[in-house]
Symmetry: C2
Subunit: 281 residues, 2 copies
């Protein structure tokens, strides 16, 4: 028997990976969680039928969601992470010496428990003393906070299901207030290629622009997400992701990354014309 996991990327596009075995499957209070062992991608976390991370290329996602803000504001001490139950974002954050404390707010404890059991390569730092885990709604968590975090990372699923509220104007306003003066918001920014993702990317970017004086998107190439060409939003009160980039600081850390480097940082903000045009519409 051959076992295949198929992600239905649009009504007319499917991406399939051959599976060695299903390691975990559970319907939690919030969503369907599956962890698969695959031939080409190693362990894969799937939520509600969508690929969240694969062992083969999660490094691309996690380096890019963290290294870009942490080399623009080199004095980030307090971080709020929303989502990111697999732990990869926290693992990367803790490689930076400036980090003093991380509040991680994940709606679904089951994602963390399953990741700790089956995905040690991402979950390895979730119980670090610098990390405090909250299993609650990130949308409510940021309400009423002021001047508290130097960085907020919204490492969410797509804006369907539980992740939807993380793409609203009110949520972004609360993030703005919760950030310090040189604070940065990085959010999972969707993709410009397929129609549905394209609209979500555009909408999220428009909302952020209403609130933050500096608002850019940056790209990374991750083969296991639909289209392979995916984006993060970078929104900030004062710092620009390219002109305020501190290349020397990054070099001094000797991080030996697998994807990120100084050229990639700048190149990530060089957008193809069709993406630029989409964001101007």
């Amino acid at each position: 028997m051959e076992l295949w996991y198929t992600e239905v990327q649009t009504d007319n596009v499917k991406f399939s990976m051959r599976v060695k075995e299903t390691l975990f499957t559970k319907k939690s209070e919030f969503q369907q969680i599956d962890i698969l062992d695959t031939y080409d991608f190693g362990k894969v976390l799937v939520i509600d039928g969508w690929t969240m991370i694969t062992e083969k290329d999660e490094f691309i996602y996690h380096e890019m969601i963290t290294h870009v803000p942490l080399t623009v504001n080199t004095n980030i001490k307090n971080v709020l992470v929303i989502g990111a139950g697999d732990g990869g974002t926290v693992r990367e954050l803790l490689r930076f010496p400036s980090i003093e404390h991380i509040d991680m707010v994940e709606l679904d404890e089951e994602v963390v428990l399953a990741s700790e059991k089956f995905l040690p390569f991402t979950s390895c730092k979730l119980r670090d003393p610098k990390v405090k885990l909250y299993f609650q709604d990130g949308i409510k968590f940021v309400e009423g906070l002021e001047n508290k975090y130097d960085l907020i990372i919204v490492d969410s699923t797509d804006p369907i299901g539980p992740g939807e509220g993380l793409f609203t104007l009110d949520f972004y306003k609360n993030c703005y207030k919760a950030l310090t003066e040189n604070g940065i918001l990085v959010n999972q920014g969707e993709s410009p290629y397929y129609d549905m993702n394209k609209k979500e990317m555009q909408r999220a970017n428009k909302k952020l622009k209403e609130i933050f004086p500096i608002c850019e998107v940056y790209q990374y190439m991750i083969p296991t997400y639909p289209s392979g060409h995916w984006f993060f939003g970078f929104a900030s009160k004062t710092l620009h992701p390219v002109t305020d980039y501190n290349e020397e600081y990054y070099k001094s850390l000797n991080l030996e990354d697998q994807y990120y480097n100084e050229e990639i940082h700048k190149a990530a903000f060089a957008l193809p014309n069709y993406v630029k045009n989409l964001l101007k519409e």
Copy 2:
């Protein structure tokens, strides 16, 4: 009934597009040629089961294979194109005023005939007076030529089947001789993500480095190729693709491209660490 075309990208990975109808199917002397009309990607040319171009994203491939060399050497007059039967490369070349003559050598006339019938968006310029079509083997075509072309574009299929000879040391040596002093060779350079493509990319790059003093690779993000992260090789006798890039020249042309722009040109040479390391091995 639902009709799906599935590209078997590796033994363990499949990419599928929903098909409206098959427009053309023929086994030529050299290969199996299919043209499909699909829901999300428009018309799609498939050779031996591999996606060659789709109407939705061929602009990415064709702008990147041509605009990069033509803005580095701004005096490219004579061009040799090998492969490229769909016509997209010729269409893009002819947008540059420096071009005086293009010899296009395509092994399989059936690809050109089918493209002219079903893919007018790429084949539209194949009968332009500046273009001379040869239906023969590109490998033999370049043998013995000297100082003839300012640019050679190897727009080939993968190094399996008829395309194999276009990835050999002898072929690259003949290209070197056939190029003028400021000549540039651009070749379809595979991808660093899946094992098979990775090895081919590495091999081709090593061979080119033995012959050309300047030898770089550059990336583009094309969702319908395996992994979505694909490369061209840039090899030249004298000109460097970034330091000799003539941004002002490009701006003066007002090409209104869909993918390529000045930032993309430079960013295309900013490689992720895992790609850099692969090319150092």
